[in-house]
């Protein structure tokens, strides 16, 4: 369900926070079934803390290291997402 959700966000600006506290912002280029994320036009949020990463442009982020994906609320129809997850959860609970 979240795979389809991310597919709707392709082309939008997102911020990805990794489990090692690094935050990267960029444009969502593509996503796959493991929720691995490819970002283009990447910018490291705290450049002074992580100067090692300033040479980044495009990056592939493994799904397992993502802690959060921050999205612009205007890009998301939260009601639709809530309904979809509710339906999926009740289907799981019933079965």
């Amino acid at each position: 369900i979240f795979f389809s959700f991310f597919k709707t966000l392709v082309g939008k600006e997102v911020a990805v926070e990794l489990k090692n506290d690094v935050v990267l912002t960029g444009t969502l280029h593509s996503v796959d079934q493991y929720l691995n994320i490819k970002l283009t036009n990447v910018k490291v949020v705290n450049e002074n803390k992580y100067p090692q990463l300033t040479a980044l442009k495009n990056c592939f982020i493994r799904g397992s290291v993502v802690r959060y994906v921050q999205i612009n609320p205007n890009d998301v129809d939260t009601e639709l997402l809530e309904d979809a997850t509710r339906k999926e959860n009740s289907a799981v609970a019933a079965g």
Binding site: L18, N20, N36, Q52, N58, R62
Partner: protein
């Protein structure tokens, strides 16, 4: 959709491993699990006290489980020879990621 690494084959890339290390090298091969083969790899060790330490590693195989981020290198100078431009960079090491064991 196709979120693959094919566009970076035979290009200089930088890998961030789960233990917070930065390794640069040429992507020789990869698979669906993100296991990677890097040629002419170079580990960059940053610390607050000393300038960047470069450790040449040659041919390296990295297991996908340990890969956090893969990205291309935006080289400001395109002469293939890694200049000492970031020789004065000092930074705190990047944190390691504690992976859940399945």
């Amino acid at each position: 959709m196709a979120s693959t690494l094919s566009e970076w084959v035979n290009q200089q890339i930088t890998i961030l491993t789960c233990d917070g290390r930065l390794i640069t090298g040429t992507l020789a091969g990869y698979d669906q699990l993100q296991n990677l083969i890097l040629k002419h790899s170079l580990e960059k060790v940053y610390s607050m006290e000393a300038p960047v330490e470069r450790v040449p590693l040659g041919l390296f195989v990295v297991r996908g489980d340990n890969v956090a981020v893969i990205s291309d290198c935006f080289d400001k100078g395109d002469d293939g020879d890694e200049g000492e431009k970031d020789g004065d960079v000092r930074a705190e090491p990047i944190k390691a990621i504690h992976q859940n064991v399945t």
